[in-house]
């Protein structure tokens, strides 16, 4: 299925004029610094949360870069970095099989149970 887009947007002057029309998405360059995923704890007591990624030669540099890129306005008190190739993810195509079985188990939620109004603090 192919579409022709002629709509032109901000910062996008179209394919015919000069856009990168034939974008190849093959990995070619071995000299590129590895990609790291960055997780930030915004304040003490909260979980680290994924904020984005960056390139760095090693873990120490990744943390330094993450400080500069992702915490310029006190967004964090702690940084985790992990090389992107070490992340394993569930397959979105299997989402149905993975998560649907939880749908029909409403009894796992407290609201499933009818209790008399006299019962307090429960």
């Amino acid at each position: 299925m192919s579409f022709q887009l002629h709509k032109l947007y901000y910062g996008d002057y179209g394919e015919s004029k000069n856009g990168a029309a034939d974008i190849s998405t093959q990995q070619t360059n071995k000299a590129e610094w590895p990609l790291w995923e960055v997780f930030i704890r915004s304040k003490q007591g909260l979980d680290h949360k994924h904020v984005g990624s960056l390139h760095a030669a090693d873990a120490a540099m990744a943390i330094e870069n993450a400080r500069d890129v992702y915490t310029r306005r006190m967004e964090g008190v702690s940084i985790w970095v992990v090389e992107s190739k070490h992340i394993h993810a569930s397959n979105p195509d299997e989402a149905e099989a993975l998560y649907d079985p939880a749908n029909d188990k409403a009894y796992r939620h407290p609201t499933f149970y009818d209790l008399p109004d006299e019962v307090k603090y429960m």
Partner: protein
């Protein structure tokens, strides 16, 4: 099968469910996004150059610190966006290569020179103002990583516009020479700022497709009109004027009418014939080439350390 995927995809977009990198998406959607996000990222990176020009000559320590912070933000914005584009399968180095070879473009506005200090004010007010106008709706764009990057960008961008307006406001209260300098800067940047929204809306049926994908939610002309309406009022606070004799409030439309944009100039600049196209790209390429040994050395050092650690274990 492809058709089914297409339908599921469109259904998600219609229900405002964000598309994530590992989800199935039409190839054309992927390519459109790679092009748009990378051009956006390149614009942030090249955008550091015209302002970097004034860091050493900022009129006070306060202004210097602000300008440094702003330029650093722009580097950050470029990096958020590159990282969003990379989730679509293109590498950082490929994007750089497309920029350096002229295959990918950046916003034409950065091909104009920054001649006076007042230009720093006008860039903040008009150029960042136009960018914000475009970026706020992008926070709801259908591709998750792009939308998240834009939320981050928008949070930071507001300071950029306010500091710019403040520079102009201070100049507007200054000496006659300072007022002249500010008006001159507005005169030079106004039309290129309007061009930032891109060419006029194209009435082709393909427009419907891209709106349907919710990559973008407003047309170029809609956003441009909004921008003109806002600026025509803000300029009054400064006591300056916008260089357009046709600029007039239209009661019936509820908008400002404005003059014809010089599209020939726009396409000339896009095609590489603007006042600073060569200078900008040369500066970018020089930084990339002269930094090569640093990148190689850091990688060699990291590899050596990793090997040593392995040997010790």
């Amino acid at each position: 099968m492809e058709q089914d995927f297409e339908k599921i995809f469109q259904d998600k977009v219609d229900r405002e469910i964000r598309i994530e990198p590992k989800d199935w998406m039409p190839e054309k959607y992927r390519q459109t996004l790679i092009r748009q996000i990378s051009q956006h990222a390149h614009s942030e990176i090249i955008g550091m150059l015209p302002e970097g020009n004034w860091i050493t000559r900022a009129p006070s320590l306060r202004r210097k610190a602000i300008l440094l912070a702003k330029v650093q933000d722009e580097a950050g914005h470029g990096l958020y966006l590159y990282s969003a584009a990379e989730t679509l399968g293109i590498t950082r180095d490929q994007m750089y290569e497309q920029l350096h070879t002229g295959k990918a473009k950046y916003s034409s506005i950065f091909n104009y020179p920054t001649l006076s200090w007042a230009d720093m004010g006008v860039i903040g007010w008009l150029v960042d103002g136009a960018a914000i106008m475009n970026q706020v709706p992008l926070c709801r764009t259908s591709f998750g990583p792009y939308a998240r990057a834009m939320v981050r960008v928008c949070k930071e961008e507001s300071f950029h516009q306010r500091q710019g307006f403040e520079i102009l406001y201070v100049l507007s209260k200054g000496t006659e020479a300072q007022r002249r300098m500010a008006q001159d800067a507005i005169n030079r940047w106004w039309w290129p700022s309007l061009m930032m929204f891109g060419p006029k809306d194209d009435e082709s049926p393909n427009t419907i497709q891209s709106m349907k994908w919710k990559i973008k939610r407003f047309s170029n002309d809609e956003l441009r009109q909004k921008f003109v309406d806002v600026c025509a009022e803000q300029v009054k606070v400064l006591g300056f004027t916008l260089p357009d004799k046709d600029l007039k409030w239209n009661e019936e439309r509820g908008h400002y009418d404005f003059g014809e944009i010089n599209w020939d100039e726009f396409w000339q600049v896009v095609q590489g014939n603007g006042p600073c196209n060569k200078e900008r790209l040369d500066a970018r390429k020089k930084a990339w080439e002269e930094g090569a040994w640093v990148r190689d050395a850091a990688l060699a050092y990291a590899n050596k350390k990793a090997k040593q650690k392995q040997a010790a274990a």
